[in-house]
């Protein structure tokens, strides 16, 4: 999906993609506005003839609204062609908010989708690592000593004893399993964010065009305002927030974890080194379990645990609190903006009812 978005955007610049519906609808919107103004002018004239002053006041307000709607169309066209021409990705790179794999992003739509894609890849990496660790721990055998038949060779008394010695720290694999059970559904739910980001330019372009046009007519004015708020919220503000928040989480993960990897000598970010990392951690835990001192230095042990703590902690915050904060801002914006410009629309209530 990320490749589709990047490919589509690179084929046509994002500015032209966003303004193409407007460019097609602008003559229609202008014509509709002229027709509405003509009708309102007729009503104003007839109300003067009929002496109905309340009609005149009403018509005056509708004329202002129609002019305002027409001005909004021109403002949107002007803003889009200028705003998306600003090389905003350079600012992101100056702030080190662009992950390594997203350097080729040319606008914040593709950057936000790339950031989310990178984060979900990191989440999938953590899930896979946990699963691999569980499998490896499960393969560690326990030793069962059974002497009954042997003793019977010495004396036919049938004396003997058996004991089972577990070598693997069973609690750890159980905990990893529970963690995997929590992470995987969150990972699946957060895939929805990637779908939403991939559709953001489409939402912005189409709904904004429809909303601006609908706002010209009196009957559909509030509905048009709600569409405009929806397009601005999900089509512009949400990708902007994602590019900031998840850009930081992605670069934070790679920076903070990499520094621990340098000390540990093995890294969770490198798939080829998972085996070494898991076996090293397992060796430490088994050695400690049987009451011995591991042969690895404390600094290296701390670094191995440290990278897991940082990696897991950042993933957990990115899966829970960050989307909550992003949707909080977007929801507030859509409610207040839609109320100011048209009809109040509560996105989270709609989504909550749907869910």
């Amino acid at each position: 999906m990320i490749d589709m978005l990047v490919g589509f955007v690179l084929a046509t610049s994002i500015g032209s993609y966003l303004t193409s519906p407007i460019a097609a609808w602008m003559p229609i919107a202008a014509l509709a506005a002229l027709v509405v103004l003509f009708i309102l002018g007729l009503i104003y004239s007839f109300s003067s003839l009929l002496g109905r002053t309340e009609f005149r006041t009403w018509v005056r307000a509708k004329i202002y609204d129609t002019f305002f709607s027409l001005i909004l169309v021109f403002i949107f066209f002007a803003v889009v062609t200028t705003f998306f021409a600003i090389p905003i990705e350079q600012s992101y790179q100056a702030l080190n908010l662009v992950p390594q794999n997203c350097v080729s992003s040319t606008d914040f739509y593709s950057l936000s989708a790339c950031d989310m894609h990178e984060f979900l890849s990191d989440t999938f990496t953590l899930n896979s690592f946990l699963y691999s660790a569980i499998v490896v721990i499960a393969l560690v055998p326990s030793v069962k000593i059974d002497t009954e038949s042997l003793f019977s060779e010495i004396a036919s008394s049938g004396l003997g004893f058996s004991v089972e010695i577990p070598l693997s720290p069973v609690s750890v694999s159980v905990y990893f399993g529970q963690l995997l059970g929590v992470l995987f559904p969150l990972f699946a739910l957060n895939q929805m964010q990637l779908l939403l980001l991939s559709a953001a330019p489409l939402i912005f372009a189409v709904l904004m065009a429809a909303g601006l046009t609908a706002r010209i007519f009196g009957i559909t004015r509030t509905f048009g305002g709600a569409l405009i708020a929806f397009a601005m919220g999900l089509g512009l503000l949400y990708p902007l927030l994602v590019s900031l928040t998840y850009g930081f989480v992605d670069t934070g993960i790679s920076t903070a974890v990499t520094s621990q990897c340098a000390i540990a000598g093995v890294c969770i970010l490198n798939f080829q080194e998972w085996g070494s990392l898991i076996f090293s951690l397992l060796a430490v835990l088994i050695t400690v379990t049987i009451g011995q001192i591991p042969g690895i230095s404390q600094t290296v042990i701390n670094a191995m645990f440290g990278q897991l703590i940082i990696y897991g902690g950042m993933i957990a915050v990115g899966l829970t609190l960050i989307p909550f904060l992003n949707f909080l801002v977007v929801d507030t914006f859509i409610i207040d903006f839609s109320r100011a410009i048209g009809e109040k629309m509560d996105l989270m209530s709609l989504l909550g009812s749907l869910v």
Binding site: S162, I165, G291, A340, M348
Partner: protein
């Protein structure tokens, strides 16, 4: 021969001495927090460098001046044509724009003033809690986000990891010994007995203790990661919020971002600080989790080993559980501290949202839906 070899193996297993703590995670939290919060200005630290955001403030200033100019024109048109709606709109929006100017002037020198407010609040809370903890006069308040991270990671996470490491040998020995089966079956008829099968419930208790340790440790590390994100990322919300608040139509988004900054950058860490500084202390100032321990070293004598374990499962086990629970109670107090700080911050988020032009910032309803 085989029997002698196997018997020797088993005795060797029993003969392994248990060290009190083979490894220790003391220092892990401090090292991690140093690594997280001391990012180079040319790297991840750039995002928290407020000097980068000065152009945003300048743009915001220009926008506010532009908006005030347009509002003046609108007021003039409203006065000339007798349009009360325009006049009222101009009056309301002019006040909001003046408020924006005040915000820009306050933020222009940098975040020092705001960080000073957080430090003041955090230190006030610390001073209030110190007499209660019987540690009065022993600690000088040193509020900072890095100190908060260190408190949670070093005293919370490191302590819980040490607790887990301390419990693993116990778990190992009790799990093993509970499977020991002695049999007497001449001519395949007789009886077998597991003398230590009764220790199995105790292994379940130890498993629960390990899981609770890991749960608390996970929470501590999650809070620390959240503080790391707040410290570096939330200044962007401040400056972007002021910029968005300059436009009348994006005032809601700007107001919600400003509210997030105030609630979570300034208030949330200040509320956490007094709780976090008490992490290492239990009743009477005793360190947490100190009573968790396995029995002392065992010898080649099986009888002595058995006796040692059996006596442990009397009074010593009860003391161990009591020590674990009292220590865990103090950790759970930290969980409550995080929850209280979160709830107060969310409430303040709504209040500041009302003040800053985002009246629909009702996080409680959204939080309920998410939960």
């Amino acid at each position: 021969m085989k029997g002698i070899v196997l018997a020797t193996l088993f005795l060797a297993f029993l003969a392994i001495s248990q060290s009190a703590s083979a490894i220790s995670f003391n220092g892990l939290g401090t090292a991690l927090c140093n690594n997280l919060f001391n990012q180079p200005i040319t790297g991840l630290g750039a995002v928290a460098n407020t000097a980068y955001y000065t152009p945003l403030l300048q743009i915001s200033f220009l926008i506010v001046i532009g908006v005030l100019t347009v509002l003046g024109l609108t007021y003039g048109i409203g006065t000339a044509f007798g349009i009360e709606v325009l006049k009222n709109f101009s009056r309301t929006e002019a006040l909001e724009s003046v408020f924006n100017l005040v915000l820009i002037i306050l933020i222009f020198p940098g975040l020092f003033a705001l960080q000073g407010i957080s430090t003041f609040l955090g230190n006030i809370g610390q001073e209030a809690v110190l007499p209660i903890s019987q540690q009065s006069g022993t600690t000088t308040p040193t509020y900072s986000m890095q100190q908060l991270c260190t408190n949670y990671m070093e005293q919370g996470l490191s302590t819980t990891l040490n607790g887990v490491i301390g419990l693993l040998p116990c778990l190992y020995y009790f799990s093993t010994m509970s499977t020991l089966e002695l049999s007497f079956m001449p001519n395949d008829f007789g009886f077998s007995v597991k003398p230590f099968a009764g220790w199995y419930p105790w292994t379940q208790v130890l498993n629960i203790e390990v899981e609770l340790y890991i749960l608390v440790g996970g929470l501590m590390s999650g809070v620390s990661m959240f503080l790391f994100i707040i410290y570096f990322l939330f200044p962007i919300f401040l400056y972007a919020g002021i910029l968005l608040r300059s436009f009348p139509w994006t005032r809601a988004a700007g107001g919600s971002m400003l509210s997030l900054f105030i609630a979570f950058y300034m208030i949330f860490p200040a509320l956490l600080y007094p709780f976090s500084s008490q992490l290492s202390l239990g009743p009477g100032g005793n360190p947490l989790f100190s009573a968790v321990s396995c029995p002392a070293t065992i010898t080649l004598s099986i009888l002595q080993a058995v006796t040692g374990y059996s006596s442990y499962l009397g009074t010593s086990a009860a003391i161990e559980m009591q020590g674990f629970v009292s220590g865990l109670a103090y950790s759970m107090m930290q969980v409550f501290g995080v929850a209280i700080a979160f709830i107060i911050s969310y409430d303040l988020l709504e209040r500041f949202g009302d003040l800053l032009g985002a009246p629909s910032l009702r996080s409680g309803k959204l939080l309920q839906k998410v939960i």
